[in-house]
Symmetry: C2
Subunit: 139 residues, 2 copies
Protein backbone atom coordinates (compact mmCIF):
# COMPACT_ATOMS: atom_id res chain seq x y z
CA UNK A 1 0.00 0.00 0.00
CA UNK A 2 1.62 3.29 -1.04
CA UNK A 3 2.33 5.88 1.59
CA UNK A 4 0.72 9.27 1.29
CA UNK A 5 2.96 12.30 1.75
CA UNK A 6 0.76 14.78 3.55
CA UNK A 7 3.35 17.52 3.06
CA UNK A 8 3.55 17.07 -0.71
CA UNK A 9 3.05 20.60 -2.06
CA UNK A 10 2.37 19.17 -5.51
CA UNK A 11 -0.91 17.67 -4.27
CA UNK A 12 -3.56 20.21 -5.25
CA UNK A 13 -6.10 18.61 -2.94
CA UNK A 14 -8.79 16.16 -3.84
CA UNK A 15 -12.13 17.35 -5.17
CA UNK A 16 -14.06 14.32 -3.92
CA UNK A 17 -14.02 11.77 -1.15
CA UNK A 18 -12.61 11.87 2.36
CA UNK A 19 -9.52 13.98 3.03
CA UNK A 20 -6.67 13.29 5.45
CA UNK A 21 -7.75 14.97 8.67
CA UNK A 22 -4.42 16.72 9.12
CA UNK A 23 -4.65 18.33 5.69
CA UNK A 24 -8.32 18.82 5.03
CA UNK A 25 -9.87 20.11 1.86
CA UNK A 26 -8.33 23.02 -0.04
CA UNK A 27 -9.22 26.37 1.51
CA UNK A 28 -10.49 29.39 -0.36
CA UNK A 29 -10.62 33.07 0.48
CA UNK A 30 -12.14 36.19 -1.07
CA UNK A 31 -11.09 39.59 0.29
CA UNK A 32 -13.40 42.55 -0.42
CA UNK A 33 -13.13 43.37 -4.13
CA UNK A 34 -10.67 40.54 -4.80
CA UNK A 35 -10.90 37.43 -6.97
CA UNK A 36 -10.98 33.99 -5.36
CA UNK A 37 -7.74 32.80 -3.74
CA UNK A 38 -7.28 29.05 -3.36
CA UNK A 39 -4.92 27.04 -1.19
CA UNK A 40 -3.15 27.79 2.06
CA UNK A 41 -0.06 29.32 0.43
CA UNK A 42 -1.94 31.79 -1.73
CA UNK A 43 -4.23 32.80 1.15
CA UNK A 44 -1.39 33.32 3.64
CA UNK A 45 0.52 35.44 1.11
CA UNK A 46 -2.54 37.65 0.63
CA UNK A 47 -2.81 38.32 4.36
CA UNK A 48 0.91 39.11 4.54
CA UNK A 49 0.47 41.60 1.69
CA UNK A 50 -2.57 43.25 3.29
CA UNK A 51 -0.97 43.52 6.71
CA UNK A 52 2.26 44.92 5.22
CA UNK A 53 0.22 47.88 3.99
CA UNK A 54 -1.94 48.23 7.09
CA UNK A 55 -0.56 50.02 10.12
CA UNK A 56 -3.73 49.61 12.18
CA UNK A 57 -6.86 47.51 11.81
CA UNK A 58 -9.73 46.75 14.15
CA UNK A 59 -12.80 44.59 13.51
CA UNK A 60 -16.11 45.19 15.28
CA UNK A 61 -18.24 42.14 14.50
CA UNK A 62 -22.04 42.46 14.48
CA UNK A 63 -24.99 40.43 13.13
CA UNK A 64 -23.19 37.20 13.99
CA UNK A 65 -25.09 34.05 12.94
CA UNK A 66 -23.86 30.50 13.46
CA UNK A 67 -25.48 27.50 11.78
CA UNK A 68 -24.09 24.00 12.36
CA UNK A 69 -24.91 20.97 10.19
CA UNK A 70 -22.93 17.80 10.87
CA UNK A 71 -19.22 18.61 10.90
CA UNK A 72 -19.65 21.90 9.05
CA UNK A 73 -20.47 25.32 10.47
CA UNK A 74 -21.62 28.35 8.51
CA UNK A 75 -20.86 31.67 10.20
CA UNK A 76 -22.05 34.97 8.74
CA UNK A 77 -21.32 38.37 10.22
CA UNK A 78 -20.88 42.05 9.51
CA UNK A 79 -17.33 43.32 9.85
CA UNK A 80 -17.26 46.98 10.86
CA UNK A 81 -13.62 47.70 10.05
CA UNK A 82 -11.55 50.65 11.16
CA UNK A 83 -8.14 50.72 9.53
CA UNK A 84 -5.26 53.05 8.85
CA UNK A 85 -2.33 52.87 6.50
CA UNK A 86 1.29 53.77 7.17
CA UNK A 87 2.09 57.40 7.94
CA UNK A 88 2.48 59.38 4.69
CA UNK A 89 5.83 61.01 5.64
CA UNK A 90 7.47 58.22 7.67
CA UNK A 91 6.30 60.06 10.76
CA UNK A 92 5.20 58.54 14.02
CA UNK A 93 1.51 59.08 13.41
CA UNK A 94 -0.87 56.76 11.58
CA UNK A 95 -2.23 57.49 8.15
CA UNK A 96 -5.87 58.53 7.96
CA UNK A 97 -8.28 56.07 9.57
CA UNK A 98 -10.89 54.64 7.20
CA UNK A 99 -14.15 52.91 8.09
CA UNK A 100 -15.43 50.02 5.98
CA UNK A 101 -18.65 48.03 6.08
CA UNK A 102 -18.04 44.44 5.02
CA UNK A 103 -20.09 41.25 5.25
CA UNK A 104 -18.45 37.84 5.56
CA UNK A 105 -19.49 34.23 5.06
CA UNK A 106 -17.19 31.74 6.80
CA UNK A 107 -17.29 27.95 6.55
CA UNK A 108 -15.62 25.87 9.26
CA UNK A 109 -14.90 22.10 9.34
CA UNK A 110 -14.80 20.15 12.59
CA UNK A 111 -11.53 18.19 12.82
CA UNK A 112 -9.78 16.19 15.55
CA UNK A 113 -7.76 19.38 16.14
CA UNK A 114 -10.86 21.55 16.49
CA UNK A 115 -12.77 23.75 14.08
CA UNK A 116 -10.73 24.83 11.05
CA UNK A 117 -11.58 27.56 8.56
CA UNK A 118 -12.38 26.13 5.12
CA UNK A 119 -13.68 29.20 3.31
CA UNK A 120 -13.79 32.93 3.99
CA UNK A 121 -15.64 35.29 1.64
CA UNK A 122 -15.82 38.98 2.52
CA UNK A 123 -17.38 41.74 0.41
CA UNK A 124 -18.13 45.43 0.70
CA UNK A 125 -21.68 46.56 1.47
CA UNK A 126 -22.18 49.22 -1.19
CA UNK A 127 -25.58 50.53 -0.13
CA UNK A 128 -28.22 49.89 2.48
CA UNK A 129 -31.25 47.96 1.34
CA UNK A 130 -34.41 49.95 1.91
CA UNK A 131 -38.04 50.21 0.96
CA UNK A 132 -37.16 52.17 -2.17
CA UNK A 133 -36.35 49.63 -4.86
CA UNK A 134 -34.24 52.15 -6.72
CA UNK A 135 -31.85 52.25 -3.79
CA UNK A 136 -31.11 48.54 -4.00
CA UNK A 137 -27.73 47.73 -5.46
CA UNK A 138 -28.11 45.66 -8.61
CA UNK A 139 -26.94 42.08 -8.79
CA UNK B 1 -44.35 13.14 21.78
CA UNK B 2 -45.14 16.51 20.21
CA UNK B 3 -45.39 16.75 16.46
CA UNK B 4 -43.07 19.10 14.64
CA UNK B 5 -44.59 21.37 12.03
CA UNK B 6 -41.97 21.53 9.31
CA UNK B 7 -43.92 24.28 7.55
CA UNK B 8 -44.04 26.52 10.59
CA UNK B 9 -42.79 29.89 9.31
CA UNK B 10 -42.26 31.05 12.88
CA UNK B 11 -39.43 28.56 13.29
CA UNK B 12 -36.25 30.55 12.63
CA UNK B 13 -34.19 27.40 12.25
CA UNK B 14 -31.89 25.80 14.76
CA UNK B 15 -28.33 26.98 15.14
CA UNK B 16 -26.98 23.65 16.41
CA UNK B 17 -27.59 19.94 16.16
CA UNK B 18 -29.16 17.85 13.43
CA UNK B 19 -31.86 19.40 11.28
CA UNK B 20 -34.92 17.72 9.73
CA UNK B 21 -33.71 16.58 6.31
CA UNK B 22 -36.65 18.15 4.54
CA UNK B 23 -35.89 21.54 6.04
CA UNK B 24 -32.15 21.68 6.48
CA UNK B 25 -30.20 24.46 8.09
CA UNK B 26 -31.11 28.10 7.49
CA UNK B 27 -29.79 29.36 4.18
CA UNK B 28 -27.92 32.61 3.67
CA UNK B 29 -27.24 34.71 0.59
CA UNK B 30 -25.12 37.75 -0.22
CA UNK B 31 -25.68 39.50 -3.55
CA UNK B 32 -22.86 41.77 -4.84
CA UNK B 33 -22.77 44.87 -2.64
CA UNK B 34 -25.62 43.66 -0.41
CA UNK B 35 -25.76 42.79 3.27
CA UNK B 36 -26.37 39.18 4.37
CA UNK B 37 -29.85 37.79 3.73
CA UNK B 38 -30.93 34.87 5.92
CA UNK B 39 -33.75 32.36 5.48
CA UNK B 40 -35.56 31.04 2.44
CA UNK B 41 -38.24 33.74 2.45
CA UNK B 42 -35.84 36.68 2.54
CA UNK B 43 -33.61 35.13 -0.12
CA UNK B 44 -36.48 34.33 -2.51
CA UNK B 45 -37.84 37.87 -2.14
CA UNK B 46 -34.43 39.29 -3.06
CA UNK B 47 -34.30 37.27 -6.27
CA UNK B 48 -37.83 38.33 -7.18
CA UNK B 49 -36.80 41.96 -6.65
CA UNK B 50 -33.64 41.61 -8.74
CA UNK B 51 -35.39 39.79 -11.58
CA UNK B 52 -38.23 42.34 -11.61
CA UNK B 53 -35.65 44.97 -12.52
CA UNK B 54 -33.67 42.80 -14.93
CA UNK B 55 -34.93 42.35 -18.47
CA UNK B 56 -32.01 40.16 -19.54
CA UNK B 57 -29.24 38.36 -17.68
CA UNK B 58 -26.70 35.78 -18.72
CA UNK B 59 -23.99 34.13 -16.62
CA UNK B 60 -20.74 32.85 -18.13
CA UNK B 61 -19.11 30.77 -15.38
CA UNK B 62 -15.32 30.39 -15.35
CA UNK B 63 -12.68 29.32 -12.81
CA UNK B 64 -15.04 26.69 -11.42
CA UNK B 65 -13.62 24.77 -8.44
CA UNK B 66 -15.46 22.04 -6.54
CA UNK B 67 -14.25 20.69 -3.21
CA UNK B 68 -16.24 17.98 -1.41
CA UNK B 69 -15.78 17.08 2.27
CA UNK B 70 -18.28 14.64 3.74
CA UNK B 71 -21.80 15.82 2.95
CA UNK B 72 -20.72 19.38 2.19
CA UNK B 73 -19.44 20.80 -1.09
CA UNK B 74 -17.71 24.12 -1.57
CA UNK B 75 -18.00 25.55 -5.08
CA UNK B 76 -16.18 28.73 -6.10
CA UNK B 77 -16.44 30.35 -9.50
CA UNK B 78 -16.21 33.58 -11.44
CA UNK B 79 -19.52 34.88 -12.76
CA UNK B 80 -19.03 36.89 -15.95
CA UNK B 81 -22.45 38.55 -16.04
CA UNK B 82 -24.07 40.31 -18.97
CA UNK B 83 -27.31 42.01 -18.01
CA UNK B 84 -29.72 44.63 -19.24
CA UNK B 85 -32.48 46.54 -17.54
CA UNK B 86 -35.94 47.34 -18.86
CA UNK B 87 -36.17 49.64 -21.89
CA UNK B 88 -36.03 53.29 -20.80
CA UNK B 89 -39.11 54.38 -22.80
CA UNK B 90 -41.32 51.29 -22.58
CA UNK B 91 -40.03 50.40 -26.03
CA UNK B 92 -39.41 46.95 -27.39
CA UNK B 93 -35.65 47.14 -27.03
CA UNK B 94 -33.59 46.28 -23.97
CA UNK B 95 -31.93 48.87 -21.82
CA UNK B 96 -28.16 49.12 -22.15
CA UNK B 97 -26.28 45.86 -21.56
CA UNK B 98 -23.81 45.95 -18.70
CA UNK B 99 -20.95 43.57 -18.00
CA UNK B 100 -20.05 42.64 -14.42
CA UNK B 101 -17.20 40.60 -12.98
CA UNK B 102 -18.33 38.77 -9.85
CA UNK B 103 -16.86 35.95 -7.77
CA UNK B 104 -19.05 33.53 -5.85
CA UNK B 105 -18.61 31.05 -3.03
CA UNK B 106 -21.37 28.46 -2.82
CA UNK B 107 -21.89 25.84 -0.11
CA UNK B 108 -24.06 22.80 -0.85
CA UNK B 109 -25.38 20.11 1.52
CA UNK B 110 -26.00 16.55 0.39
CA UNK B 111 -29.56 15.52 1.32
CA UNK B 112 -31.78 12.53 0.48
CA UNK B 113 -33.29 14.79 -2.20
CA UNK B 114 -29.90 15.63 -3.72
CA UNK B 115 -27.50 18.51 -3.26
CA UNK B 116 -29.14 21.65 -1.84
CA UNK B 117 -27.70 25.15 -1.71
CA UNK B 118 -26.93 26.27 1.85
CA UNK B 119 -25.04 29.49 1.25
CA UNK B 120 -24.36 31.75 -1.72
CA UNK B 121 -22.00 34.72 -1.42
CA UNK B 122 -21.26 36.81 -4.51
CA UNK B 123 -19.16 39.97 -4.67
CA UNK B 124 -17.80 42.34 -7.28
CA UNK B 125 -14.17 42.08 -8.37
CA UNK B 126 -13.06 45.69 -8.14
CA UNK B 127 -9.58 45.37 -9.61
CA UNK B 128 -7.27 42.73 -10.96
CA UNK B 129 -4.52 41.58 -8.64
CA UNK B 130 -1.13 42.09 -10.20
CA UNK B 131 2.54 42.30 -9.42
CA UNK B 132 2.25 45.93 -8.40
CA UNK B 133 1.23 46.01 -4.76
CA UNK B 134 -0.32 49.43 -5.14
CA UNK B 135 -2.83 48.00 -7.59
CA UNK B 136 -4.20 45.55 -5.04
CA UNK B 137 -7.56 46.53 -3.63
CA UNK B 138 -7.33 47.04 0.11
CA UNK B 139 -9.09 44.74 2.54
Amino acid sequence: MPEIDLDDPADPGSTAGPEPASEGPAISCVHPGWPVLTGRGEVLRSYALIMANTEYIQFFLTDLRVCVAGDTALVTCTENILSGGPAPQDGDELGPLVGQLVVATNVFRRTPDGWKLWSHHASPVLAETGDDEDEEPSS
